[in-house]
């Protein structure tokens, strides 16, 4: 076999049963390459939510009757299951939120307003998603702190030397992504943590693009806070999480106030419930948690090392085949340092037009700034085209991408 054929063979089939994904199963010619934005959902996830609603639906925590107890049990069992998947031992330090964006806003507001003062410093990186950039920027503006961006080294990786320079003693927050959604860059978490620990900062890791793609082993990362979204890891929309070290969570004021999070509500003052309830005001999204637990179960069934290997294989094959398309430049570091993401520009064609032509061939890719305008400025592009892979993709999807890119050049009148 020629080298390309070998690469193709390594990702010839998806690592899941495609029947599990109705949308992909039923639309035969759909090549869904936008999993970094959101993933498709296996039947097991939809089924788990449906069963919950059909068999145990009730408001949890507050009811003395059996159905409500079942709902509570479903909710708390889901928390345990997801904590296990994440590698989080202290289950009650996993707070359910709507997703990564909310989790980061909880930190920037509840922790940030209580702990960051004028003259303090907040450090983020150049490659952050807006969700891990704007909340910190706005916190800094609100309290008069300094907002500092650790820049990139050539090749779309973080400049660790610059990060070290940024981490002055007055640094109160160091926030970074485990994996860049725009480039796929896998950040060296342990080195970042080591640098950040030279300060007394809260070390925040945005795992939105980490936990779906490899074993997150959150406790082992050594960070103070870890955040993620369910919908990017086969789970439903509207659910995600925030994991924070217990001492920090206990010292932190609540983010939202209302039912379930209180202990005593006086006319003048109130006191708060224990973890995790203190940070979960209002009726929880039990069905969402149940669906997310089913997603964790499904991913564990595949094995996260297989997920990682499959994405790496798809990436290798794509990288090889992209050389067939004249004028393509892939952004970011070499494939070994990337998760299953290919972000590229094509000479003389705007990403929006690429996405449009690709769509007409059933190839779904994202075009734009990928919620990373600060990164786009540094890369001196206004937008890129991004293909991102997951467990249900295979070499056919890559082939379709390549053919469609050649068509695009054609269609746009390039020689």
């Amino acid at each position: 076999m020629n080298p390309l054929a070998i690469l193709r063979k390594d990702c010839e089939r998806p690592i899941v049963n495609i029947d599990d994904f109705s949308l992909l199963d039923e639309r035969d010619h759909l090549h869904y390459l936008d999993s970094a934005a959101t993933t498709q959902k296996p039947r097991a996830v939809l089924q788990a939510m449906q069963s919950y609603y059909e068999q145990h639906n009730a408001n949890p925590h507050r009811g003395a009757y059996e159905l409500s107890a079942q709902s509570t049990e479903a909710y708390e069992r889901s928390r345990k299951r997801i904590a296990r998947f994440l590698g989080v031992a202290d289950v009650d330090t996993l707070i359910f939120t709507r997703g990564t964006t909310e989790s980061l806003n909880v930190l920037a507001t509840a922790w940030g307003r209580a702990n960051v003062k004028a003259g303090d410093r907040i450090v983020v990186t150049r490659m952050e998603h807006h969700a891990n950039f704007v909340p910190w920027q706005q916190l800094a503006l609100a309290v008069g702190a300094e907002f500092v961006i650790a820049e990139l080294a050539p090749g779309g990786v973080l400049d660790l030397d610059h990060l070290a320079q940024c981490c002055t003693p007055n640094t109160k927050v160091v926030a970074f992504g485990q994996v860049s959604n725009a480039l796929g860059t896998i950040n060296p978490v342990s080195e970042i943590v080591r640098i950040a620990r030279t300060t007394g900062a809260l070390v925040v890791c945005d795992g939105a693009q980490g936990v779906p793609h490899f074993d997150a082993a959150v406790d082992a990362l050594g960070v103070d806070a870890y955040v993620f979204s369910g919908h990017k890891m086969l789970g439903p929309m509207g659910i995600g999480g925030l994991v924070v070290r217990r001492e920090i969570l206990e010292a932190m004021p609540p983010y939202q106030f209302g039912g379930d999070m209180i202990a005593l509500v006086g006319d003048e003052r109130s006191t708060w419930n224990v973890l995790p309830h203190k940070f979960e005001a209002g009726t929880p999204n039990v069905a969402g948690a149940v669906g997310l637990a089913a997603a964790a179960q499904y991913l564990d069934g595949i094995g996260m090392s297989r997920v990682r290997a499959h994405e790496a294989a798809l990436l290798a094959y794509t990288t090889a085949r992209l050389t067939e398309v004249p004028g393509v430049t892939v952004l970011g570091p070499p494939p070994e340092r990337r998760s299953g993401v290919v972000s590229f520009v094509l000479d003389e064609v705007h990403p929006h037009d690429i996405a449009q032509v690709l769509d007409s061939a059933g190839v779904c890719v994202r075009s734009g700034h990928h919620c990373a305008q600060p990164l786009m400025r540094a890369l001196k592009v206004s937008a890129t085209t991004r293909a991102s892979f997951y467990v249900y993709n295979d070499a056919d999807d890559v082939d379709a991408l390549i053919v469609a890119l050649l068509t695009t050049r054609d269609r746009m009148g390039l020689a």
Partner: protein, 142 residues
């Protein structure tokens, strides 16, 4: 390749994309305005020079997809030399066309933009320069 896509990317569009008309900064404009599409990051600036109630000159610059660039370029051709009232009428006809309410009264190169109506997501692209032109007129010192 679908027929609709063929219609979207007609050769006039591709030509205007590659060689946009009136693609320049205007130093002595009566007014100018920026347009931004936060979803895709496309961005355009339009300059207008008025002579009484007539558009004496119009130009644009910016970055964007083929549709937004070609549409802005075609816009400059369509309104240059027109009165304010005529400009408004052209804008209205353009808007009706791209939102699928018919291409009545559309003349010249602008016809090439009719394909946009089949792609609701691209209406924003096509309209970017047009809305900036309207805003530039609003800002213009008479």
């Amino acid at each position: 390749m679908s027929a609709e896509l063929e219609e979207l990317y007609q050769s006039i569009i591709l030509d205007h994309n590659r060689r946009p008309q009136n693609f320049r900064v205007m130093e002595d404009a009566s007014g100018h305005a920026d347009g931004l599409n936060p979803l895709c990051g496309d961005q355009v600036t339009v300059w207008i020079k008025l002579d009484g109630d007539r558009v004496a000159d119009v130009s644009f610059q910016g970055q964007g997809c083929a549709i937004s660039k070609a549409s802005a370029s075609l816009m400059t051709q369509a309104v240059k030399g027109k009165t304010l009232a005529e400009t408004q009428a052209i804008f209205d006809r353009f808007h009706a066309m791209v939102t699928g309410q018919g291409a009545e009264g559309i003349t010249g190169g602008m016809k090439a933009l009719s394909g946009v109506s089949k792609f609701p997501l691209r209406v924003k692209c096509a309209s970017l320069g047009w809305h900036a032109m309207k805003a530039a007129l609003d800002n213009a010192a008479p």
